[in-house]
């Protein structure tokens, strides 16, 4: 397949250039995906397909457009590219829109970041079904008569992509992703039917938890929500569980993009080299983790990647500045978007930390809400456990936390010793003091 992808990319560039483009980037991506889910001990859904698509970025007469298609029949494709070039020339000129200076393509790390699991080739339908069935069984067994419904699912995909530009970039990758998970709904008082799920994603299948562990976790999480209720509005310490830190921290990362800064939509725009968080927060962008879900040797612009400390002991050190916004801002480019985001873990477990906190809330899920990248204001619904002196009191639901990023990161008190391994964001549980938790 590799050569076929390259051939199409090369053909697309040639076609665009002969239609009048000055420069272009062509990416061809092929994917094979399989999805299985089980419910009531039988397959609920089986899905399988192969896809292939072409994306072509066209630079013509100082103008720019981006085109994508899954209609890869040669004649219609040729017409499509020709029309796209002609259309591009009708747009407004944008002197900042160019392919990157090829010097930034240089220095690509010569290491294997392990994005492809060779075990993929030998994965059989039976192995896929057994994994999902085992998740469902484990969840059903642990849930007993509390179970209303259990769904278990397993997906895997194999992606191959070739990227070329008319100014000499050449990138290829082959990657696998495996997903396993289970969701349970349980009986509670009245008409309440709490549900929660366990879910894991990995590049290597062997790095997924066992199906039994996933099934049991789905059950444990769901049962822990039984009897959920809200409490009086109160200012409390909160612990954000490792699994949901990525969603919580996304509001901070959004404000670090070059686009947000140039478009005056970032509360961090003038905060470089300033203290934006407590010294507990270090945020490292590491593209070279072997088997990391965000690992990459080149970014969306083709720029060679490197490890960067984005926030170092609370001080903001870097932004995500892609090639285009680097030109608009007159800054050096860094990289277009996060690869793997690492928050280094602390020394103590969540349980140990809870003992010292007195009364607080352990947040295990978020619902709705928003973070405003322009102002830093954040307000989001939560579910979790009220605890006192390390012991759970009861689950909380229908509650909310609100604050401003420029304030609450300064109150980050501690990081747990439990980095979450099944996401591109590898963060431990985080402890904050003095959050207004809104309820009754």
């Amino acid at each position: 397949m590799k050569q076929e992808l390259y051939d199409l990319a090369e053909w697309a560039i040639k076609t665009a250039k002969s239609a009048g483009a000055n420069d272009c980037r062509a990416s061809v991506e092929a994917e094979r995906l399989v999805e299985i889910s089980y419910r009531e001990r039988k397959p609920e859904n089986l899905k399988e397909a192969s896809t292939k698509s072409l994306q072509i970025d066209i630079y013509a007469d100082g103008r720019y457009s981006s085109q994508r298609t899954s209609d890869l029949r040669k004649e219609p494709l040729k017409t499509f590219i020709g029309d796209a070039v002609a259309m591009t020339k009708l747009l407004a000129e944008d002197p900042f829109r160019t392919l990157p200076d090829p010097k930034y393509y240089q220095g690509r790390a010569a290491i294997d970041i392990g994005l492809y699991d060779p075990a993929y080739r030998s994965l059989t339908p039976d192995a896929r079904h057994s994994f999902v069935k085992a998740m469902e069984e484990a969840c059903l067994a642990k849930g007993g008569d509390k179970v209303i419904s259990v769904s278990a699912f397993g997906n895997d995909s194999y992606v191959e992509a070739a990227v070329m530009t008319s100014n000499g970039f050449d990138g290829y990758l082959e990657a696998t992703v495996f997903v396993g998970g289970a969701e349970m709904t349980a009986k509670d008082e009245g008409e309440r039917r709490p549900s929660d799920f366990a879910y894991a994603v990995a590049v290597n299948r062997k790095n997924l938890p066992t199906p039994e562990a996933l099934g049991e976790e789905a059950c444990r999480r769901t049962l822990s929500l039984l009897g959920g209720r809200k409490i009086k509005t109160e200012t409390l310490p909160i612990i954000i569980e490792n699994r949901v830190v990525a969603r919580f921290g996304n509001g901070l990362v959004q404000a670090m993009f070059g686009r947000s800064i140039q478009q005056k939509q970032s509360f961090l725009a003038d905060k470089k080299d300033q203290k934006v968080a407590s010294p507990v927060l270090t945020l490292v962008d590491d593209p070279f983790i072997v088997g990391g879900l965000g690992s990459r040797l080149f970014d969306d612009d083709g720029l060679a990647t490197k490890t960067r400390a984005m926030i170092d002991a609370g001080v903001l050190k870097e932004f995500y500045v892609d090639w285009y916004y680097s030109r608009k801002l007159g800054w050096e480019p860094t990289t277009s978007s996060p690869s793997n985001l690492i928050i280094p873990p602390g020394k103590r477990s969540v349980k140990e930390i809870m003992k010292d906190l007195g009364r607080g809330i352990f947040i295990t899920g978020f619902i709705g809400g928003n973070s405003n990248s322009t102002t830093g204001d954040m307000s989001i619904g939560i579910t979790g456990q009220l605890f006192e002196k390390g012991e759970p009191v009861h689950p909380v639901s229908e509650m909310n936390i609100a604050d401003n990023h420029l304030k609450f990161w300064q109150r980050l008190a501690e990081a747990g010793n439990d980095p979450y391994m099944y996401s591109g964001t590898r963060a431990p549980s985080l402890v904050f003091t003095d959050f207004v938790v809104a309820g009754i």
């Binding site: 397909a49 009708l90 005056k264 709705g368 909310n400 609100a402 809104a438």
Partner: protein, 510 residues
Amino acid sequence: MKKMNRRTFIKTGATAAAATLAAPALPGGWYSLPGADSAGYFESEFGITDALCRKVLAEALAKGGDYADLYFEHTISNYLILEDGKVNRAASDIGLGAGIRTVKGEQVGYGFTQELSDKAMLNAAATAATIASTEARQPAGQFLRLRTKDYYPMKTLFSSVPLKSKLPLLQTTNDRCFALSPLVVKVNVSYHDQQKRILVVTSEGVKAEDLQPRTWLYSSVVAEKDGRRERSGWNFGGRREFSYFTPALLEDLCQRAVNRTLVLFEAVQPPAGEMPVVLGPGVTGVLLHEAIGHGMEADFNWKKTSTYCTMLGKKVAEPFVTIIDDGTIPQLVGSINFDDEGTPGQKTVLVDKGILTSYMHDHISATNYKVKPTGNGRRESYQHYAIPRMRNTYMPAGPATPEDVIKAAGKGIYVQDVSNGQVKIGEGDFAFYVSQGRMIENGKLTAPIKDVNIMGNGPKMLANITVLANDFEFSVGGAGACGKDGQAAPCGFGQPTCLVKSLTVGGVRS
């Protein structure tokens, strides 16, 4: 021959098929024999003949199963983007493919392909067929073309509107937003148009072909005042033609985008805790969609994971509350001539004068509940199979004036616009982000509020709707989409001003 229901297989044989298929009284649609129309789009463009469809359906049923369907899609999407004063970016996306589904009871096998060759489609059908393991079955011997009303007729296709006519929309919007206030420092405008052509062919012998347009124009504004920045925006759109974007509409768009941004400089954070909440007309209907609508989608109910699964026929709201899901409102973004399983678009009353009367059904759930499908089987694209989804969900008006409703609240908050809604189906708990609103003090609107979440419980909220005003509006945005099981679908909504007795407001003051 045994009596057949809608799910039963139609054996080969044109007369029998025609007779059986004509029988189901599906509202809003009717069937005609093939030959009445010229070849459809997919036949003339891609060679998708009835004979080929029959062959692929037969492959999908090669191992048995109750039912199979084919979904062909050819979608052309265009985007134009204005940033820093110039329309300097365009993007297009062409989606072409076919999805093949085999259904056995509640089980689904699904394969899809982007290549519309016989071989690729037969492969995808063979994948779908693996869900079953009994005797092969035959699809209908003849396909009857579904004819419905057209709720979004296109006199002029987007592809026939030259780019030079589209560009000034964005430029005018940009220039006008800047002209409206010296505080405006950045304007982003995006324009989208889409022509989605679909063909649904079922093993029961239904063949339905449609062209679904969708468009929007969105303006996002950043303003600066005394060193503070605020951002907001507005969009207009729907299943409309290009001619929808008149100068008057653009003026309205700019006024709303700029005013909504400027008001944020005056905004305060409301206190946190439970209080009465008044929902303004129109766009806040998204709360109805999220907090109440999802729980009434039938799949969550036959799986018993929805809090509404035991409430059919029971009182869920006050007698003056009716809730409707409707695919037949002209040009609204959630309207459909027929759904993605070939069931005609229709109006479904979910809550009738306070009583829960129906869920929203696709083919599978309707069979399960032994009712007719309600035309809610929808999907994002050929890469997904249909599941029960809302269309345009709304609550009709009541007798009060909006002022009465605000007065009845006494002290609380008024919600003018919401976004980022999410619901937990089993508990019914939901959360919403209030992007525009006001405080209510002494029965009157006072200071604007912003950046605050509201939390509640769907069934409780529904039961707690105590006053409805006479100012019903549909939301006229086109840019929003609803997400479920990883699939996005455009949905519409509407409601009058209404009072919810109590919700939790997630402010920062305890």
